[in-house]
């Protein structure tokens, strides 16, 4: 073996190590623990720096086409029966650790003070779309239900499923009571379209798209989320390892 062979052998080996090494590190539980640990830094630093409102846009800044993604039509028989009758008998359940569980029709939800906002929706994949959303503040619904002091999380149970797994999401009270966090009944001044989560979806501005649960059937106040489904606080968090804190 001459020097040239040695050098090329070493550099090939180093290249191979680097390629395989990255994947091996990616699978290492200790490495993952450190990487996942950055989520706490993101949350704490952004809570410190970004306590205000998300940018609201002008009408002429709205996307001409607001694409759909994720599930665009739940397979649930129950939901489809409601869709067929224009959601007249549909009710939003607000329950869990509350003193006064609620059962709200679309008319009831429309009777709460409404907030309209033109905001940007940022998908975790990288694209953005700007649309107008209107509905009651989530905070008002929660106040009406009278949360227990033990409540730390609000969970959104949805009608759509991936295979047999229902979609769900959760946020903490900081985001639940934010003045731009609404349960949207209208999109771009019309009834929320099926593809965007009819009859009601969460808008939790300052978070990536997957937090904005569509087809919401039930809002549940909980003390813990680690004992729900796979314990990560949402469908994508459980299924694919997306981070629960989605401000970044």
């Amino acid at each position: 073996m001459n020097r040239r062979d040695l050098i090329s052998g070493l550099s090939l080996g180093a290249g191979g190590l680097l390629l395989g090494g990255c994947d091996r590190l990616n699978a290492d539980p200790n490495v993952r623990k450190i990487l996942v640990g950055a989520e706490g830094l993101h949350l704490r630093s952004q809570r410190l720096l970004a306590s205000g409102l998300a940018r609201e846009y002008r009408r002429d800044q709205m996307s001409p086409v607001f694409r759909t993604n994720g599930n665009t039509r739940p397979a649930s028989v129950d939901w489809q029966a409601h869709a067929a009758t224009n959601f007249v008998d549909w009710r939003l359940v607000v329950d869990g650790l509350v003193a006064k569980p609620l059962n709200l029709s679309l008319r009831d939800l429309g009777a709460f003070p409404q907030r309209a906002q033109i905001t940007r929706h940022d998908c975790v994949e990288g694209w953005s779309a700007i649309g107008k959303w209107q509905g009651p503040l989530l905070g008002d619904l929660l106040k009406a239900a009278d949360l227990s002091d033990r409540v730390r999380y609000i969970v959104f149970h949805c009608a759509d499923t991936f295979g047999s797994r229902p979609y769900y999401e959760s946020i903490d009270l900081y985001d639940a009571f934010h003045p731009q966090t609404i349960m949207a009944l209208l999109m771009n001044d019309r009834r929320l379209p099926i593809g965007h989560g009819a009859p009601i979806r969460l808008r939790v501005e300052r978070h990536l798209g997957y937090k904005h649960a569509k087809f919401v059937m039930r809002v549940e106040a909980r003390e813990r989320i680690d004992n729900l489904y796979q314990g990560q606080g949402g469908y994508w968090e459980d299924a694919a390892g997306y981070q629960w804190y989605a401000g970044i």
Partner: protein, 290 residues
């Protein structure tokens, strides 16, 4: 003349062949940390790009909106489209064969992404954790380099240096691969200063702030991010362009290191010591001694 004079003179003006201290510890640490950080950031960033391989200008941008840059594929080919220009890249970008022999139509191939198989969630874990390393180490390095006067001593550009004639002469020297020898090699020349300063003060801050502009929470706290970059999708485009610029710097940097003597350059960035290039002067032999 006192006897000690010659050695003092040697120390104050070293010549070709002398081993001199060239890089401080802080510079060497930051340099090698950057090698790891920037590699991880770029490779995980390319995987994130794969999730939506299109770039836009403005506040919004999604599939129905016009993209100024796209890496895409047809059934049998991969291509890169930039404005009206389309280049076929089958085998490398947009349409390539993975480690198991399967055709994949993601933008960037497995050998350049972290992780190697399509996984947006994992790529985000790496990218967003190392973003902290990049940002914090840059801030720390800037603070240290202000205190130890590295910026002032090594990066200050004098009026004479920035004159067109001087810059042009330096460009010609570089193009002819005529590198400075002796004591002149201890100082950064004007092209080196400009390259180093543009990385430190333009490219890295640009890539960090455009990255922050991609965070919906940061956009609410620091709304000026949206204003200075012209919207989140413009920031995403600039983030990508800054990456290409840093990659360009890396390529030129490696080329210059190889041309200027890789062993000596590597040693200077590891131990800090650099052997000044050029032929050492012939020893002067006094006639009387002979």
């Amino acid at each position: 003349m006192p006897e000690s004079e010659p050695s003092t003179m040697l120390e104050s003006s070293p010549g070709p062949g002398d081993l001199v201290k060239r890089h401080r510890l802080s510079t060497r640490l930051w340099h090698w940390l950057n090698v790891v950080t920037l590699a991880v950031m770029m490779m995980s960033g390319l995987m994130i790009f794969n999730a939506h391989p299109r770039l836009y200008w403005g506040q919004y941008g999604a599939n129905a909106d016009p993209a100024w840059f796209e890496i895409g594929s047809s059934r049998t080919t991969g291509f890169v489209q930039a404005g009206p220009l389309r280049v076929e890249t089958t085998g490398v970008l947009g349409h390539w064969t993975d480690q198991d022999g399967n055709i994949q139509r993601h933008a960037f191939p497995y050998w350049i992404t972290i992780p190697s198989r399509y996984n947006l969630a994992d790529a985000r874990l790496w990218h967003l954790a190392f973003a902290w390393v990049l940002g914090v180490s840059l801030l720390a390095y800037m603070a240290v380099s202000l205190v130890n006067r590295h910026f002032k001593r090594d990066l200050t550009i004098s009026r004479a240096e920035i004159r067109t004639a001087h810059v042009w002469a330096d460009i010609k020297d570089h193009a002819r691969l005529r590198f400075p020898t002796g004591a002149a090699a201890m100082r950064y020349n004007i092209l080196q200063k400009l390259a180093y300063a543009s990385v430190l003060f333009v490219m890295l801050p640009l890539i960090i702030f455009t990255g922050l502009a991609l965070s919906p929470a940061m956009d609410s706290g620091w709304q000026w991010l949206l204003d200075i970059f012209g919207g989140r999708q413009s920031a995403r485009s600039l983030h990508f362009i800054a990456m290409v610029a840093l990659l360009g710097f890396f390529v030129v940097h490696i080329a210059m290191v190889v041309l200027a003597g890789p062993i000596n350059e590597l040693r200077s960035m590891i131990s800090g010591y650099y052997r000044l290039p050029g032929k050492p002067p012939e020893p002067v032999i006094e006639e009387g001694v002979r």
